[in-house]
């Protein structure tokens, strides 16, 4: 113990003698007499001092044997329970009894997530409830009308998800209050501006419950909790299935080296083309409502390391070339990792690609990014021995860079045949790539 490299000179350790707790309610005690002087040798359990509390007078036995090094509390001084009264120098070969390290301290809390800031819990629309308003009397008292009207949590949430300007929604509740059925009816009748301004899924006003405190491992970060909630909700609402297909990436490998871009850009382009071919996968399911989109707003999952992941969206991705896609992916990933994404850059996705293959994993079952209906997983490209058939129809074994694409899709929106056709389309587009 004494030869620890961090304390080369110290041949002895100082052990505190503390004011004991003599009874549950006792908070302090007074030193009545010291039995030893500084420099005296003292045995373990020998009385070192006498104390007096409002319940009892008693003696304090020394916790260790050693030399009395310091007296910290003089006679007739009253101190709180737990206060060090004296320090005893224990010679190098004597150990104080096997207590846990005194400086272990409370569990570190510095890295726990701070409580959400006020902005963070404000719904990201213009319909923020008027602040400070609090009705008196009956909870059912009429809400105030017109411009100062307040909205219930569920109404605000629906409005935020559908980008509804609540001021434009006629209210049929007491005093013209907008009720849940009012806002739902408004959306149904086409009042929402959903097409122009798609919902912002990453920043839903929903905030998960704080994780229970003091569990081992500390609190999850806010982002971690949000991701968890989002993923769990997806599995709850969607009938998620996963279909796999294997693709030969030989031509992609050649082409990407030539262009100096990642394989992901080719996969993105092939997926966009396949989505144009099968637009049923480029759509949203919101409750019972199914919407097909003509634009492909392509989400690309970007890992933020330990913090989690985020899905920036390439809007109108169908208008971009492979090189253009590669540049946009690079740019969005950089901005994501430096936390510079704007809310517009994470909302409105219609289809998502996730690409965690850099570690060599070959298959996964991704979770659908709601309210989209499908997500494509692109893992590692690995050289494998495969059977190839030449133009004459004869088979041979060749070494080819292969990958396995996994498509998780929502069985509420489509069926397995369609997902298989979509994957076949992606595969064909990659394998038939014109060099």
């Amino acid at each position: 113990m004494s030869s620890s490299p961090t304390e080369p000179e110290t041949a002895s350790t100082l052990v505190d003698v503390t004011m004991p707790q003599m009874g549950v309610s006792v908070a302090e005690g007074t030193v009545v007499a010291w039995r030893f002087e500084i420099g005296d040798r003292i045995q373990a359990d020998e009385t070192i001092c006498e104390i007096s509390t409002d319940k009892i007078d008693t003696e304090v036995p020394s916790p260790v044997g050693g030399v009395l090094a310091e007296i910290l509390v003089p006679v007739d001084t009253t101190v709180e329970v737990g206060t060090p009264l004296a320090r005893i120098a224990v010679s190098g070969d004597v150990q104080p009894s096997g207590e846990p390290a005194p400086d272990a301290g409370p569990p570190a809390s510095s890295d726990a997530a701070p409580p959400p800031s006020p902005e963070a819990v404000t719904p990201p629309t213009s319909v923020t409830p008027e602040s400070g308003a609090s009705g008196n009397g009956s909870p059912l008292a009429p809400a105030r009308a017109a411009s100062s009207r307040r909205y219930s949590p569920v109404v605000q949430r629906i409005a935020a998800e559908h980008n509804v300007d609540l001021e434009a929604v006629p209210g049929t509740g007491r005093g013209g209050r907008v009720r849940k059925q009012d806002v739902l009816g408004f959306i149904e009748s086409g009042g929402a501006q959903a097409q122009e301004e798609p919902p912002m899924h990453i920043e839903s006003p929903y905030r998960p419950d704080p994780a229970p405190a003091a569990q081992a491992g500390g609190q999850l970060s806010r982002m971690r909790r949000q991701i968890g909630e989002h993923m769990k909700r997806s599995l709850e609402v969607s009938a998620t299935c996963t279909t796999w297909i294997e693709a030969d990436m030989s031509r992609v490998e050649t082409a990407r080296k030539r262009l100096g871009v990642t394989a992901l850009a080719f996969v993105a382009r092939a997926s966009i083309d396949a989505l144009r071919e099968f637009p049923a996968l480029n759509s949203w399911m919101e409750g019972e409502r199914y919407t097909q989109h003509s634009d492909v707003n392509l989400g690309i999952a970007v890992s933020l390391g330990d913090d989690g992941l985020i899905v920036p969206v390439i809007h109108k991705a169908h208008e971009l070339s492979v090189e253009g896609l590669a540049a946009r992916i690079r740019e969005l990933a950089r901005r994501a990792r430096s936390r510079q994404l704007t809310p517009d850059e994470v909302r409105g996705g219609t289809f998502t690609i996730t690409n965690p293959g850099q570690y060599g994993s070959i298959m996964a079952t991704p979770i659908i990014n709601q309210p989209q209906v499908a997500i494509l997983d692109f893992e590692a490209v690995i050289k494998r021995a495969v059977v190839v058939t030449d133009d004459q129809g004869s088979d041979s074994i060749a070494i080819r860079p292969m990958t396995i694409f996994g498509l998780s899709w929502d069985h509420r929106a489509l069926d397995g045949a369609l997902s298989a056709q979509f994957l076949a389309s992606v595969k064909r587009r990659l394998e038939d790539l014109t060099p």
Partner: protein, 364 residues
């Protein structure tokens, strides 16, 4: 054996405490048994003294209670109990835990609030019972365990099992309703249960004359129990009275109330300096120390008492070292185990070192 039962029954007939079993060495103890009793008492005192030192050093949280001077009450009574018998042990009865087989390291871990304590830090100091050894831990509402012991005895009787339940309680406990409900119930149903009234003169600071107008052992007859008064500072007398009570219980003759007259030599807890107790009273009782008494008895029989002491001291030193080295409980475990998730597992059997249990049951 038959005479003992008759003797106890006679004591019932003649009105509770009039016939007392006082201070006689028991004819049912071998020399080894007698040494066992001494060892249990020495272990109890030594563990409690060590725990008190740790308490003063700030290592034992909360309050601290001990049974200094009362060691014979729990040692003698628990020694008479068989493995399949069941015990509800109170806070000045540490020797009972020791006899049932709880190791001193686990007891010290319990005081220290460590993971290795019997309750793994969920309850403190003497609030424990090792369910694997046939013991139920007490609660702070003191006569409560009298009803639990009565219920165990009720189950034994319903299933015609030859087993006995035993619990201790204090003079203060006799004032609460559960005392009445338990002795009445046990009397009505004639249950195989032994109640040991640990009359240590004070309930915290309240003396006997403020607790009851009639000695509780005299109430026994009114409830249909046999009541006896025993010198609570004589482990062998405690053993003998309990053994007789147990034989009565097994013979279907119902409950026994044993009043063990003793003295609480320390404060109610470590924070109590006992200023309310006359010094002469303490001095008088100091002369009747149960450990010294058993040592004197053994010395006259040629036993090397010092060797026993040395052995016990070494055990406690090792136990303290082990307990202090053990970890505190994981804070994450604080919210688990409120409910039983699997099958309810009943109490297990404890140790029973008395040589009488090793012999074939020919004696009865």
């Amino acid at each position: 054996m038959a005479t003992d039962i008759a003797k106890a029954a006679e004591s019932s007939d003649s009105g509770g405490s009039d016939v007392a079993l006082v201070g006689e060495p028991s004819a049912h103890l071998t020399l080894d048994d007698r040494v066992w009793l001494l060892r249990a008492m020495l272990m109890m005192r030594g563990v409690e003294e060590r725990a008190m030192t740790l308490y003063r050093q700030g290592k034992v949280p909360g309050s601290f209670y001990d049974g200094y001077g009362q060691e014979a009450v729990s040692a003698g009574a628990a020694f008479a109990m068989a493995p399949q018998d069941r015990l509800c042990i109170l806070h000045r009865d540490l020797a009972a835990h020791i006899i049932r087989g709880v190791t001193p390291a686990r007891i010290l871990s319990q005081y220290l609030g460590r993971e290795a304590g019997i309750t793994a830090g969920r309850d403190g100091n003497v609030h424990f019972g090792d369910r694997h050894l046939g013991c139920v831990g007490m609660v702070s509402m003191l006569p409560d365990m009298m009803l639990v012991a009565t219920g165990m005895a009720m189950a034994f009787k319903l299933r015609s099992e030859p087993r006995v339940a035993l619990t201790w309680f204090g003079d203060g406990s006799t004032s609460r309703g559960d005392f009445h409900e338990a002795v009445n119930w046990a009397g009505v149903q004639k249950l195989p249960v032994i109640f040991i009234l640990e009359n240590n003169q004070y309930a915290y600071s309240t003396p006997l004359d403020k607790q009851f107008a009639v000695d509780p052992v005299k109430r026994a007859e009114a409830y249909g129990l046999v009541g006896v008064t025993v010198d609570g500072n004589d482990a062998e007398a405690m053993f003998e009275a309990t053994r007789v009570g147990r034989e009565r219980a097994l013979a279907g003759q119902g409950p026994t109330l044993i009043e063990a007259v003793t003295m609480r030599m320390h404060g109610h807890a470590a924070h109590d300096d006992m200023k309310y107790v006359p010094k002469e009273q303490v001095e008088e009782w100091r002369k009747r120390d149960p450990i010294e008494r058993q040592e004197a008895r053994l010395r006259s029989l040629g036993v090397d008492v010092e060797a026993v002491r040395t052995e016990v001291r070494a055990d406690i030193d090792a136990a303290a070292e082990e307990a202090l080295a053990g970890p505190m409980p994981d804070p994450g475990s604080a919210v688990s185990g409120v409910f039983c998730e699997g099958e309810a597992e009943p109490l297990g059997d404890g140790q029973a070192p008395w040589s009488g249990f090793a012999r074939p049951e020919a004696s009865s």
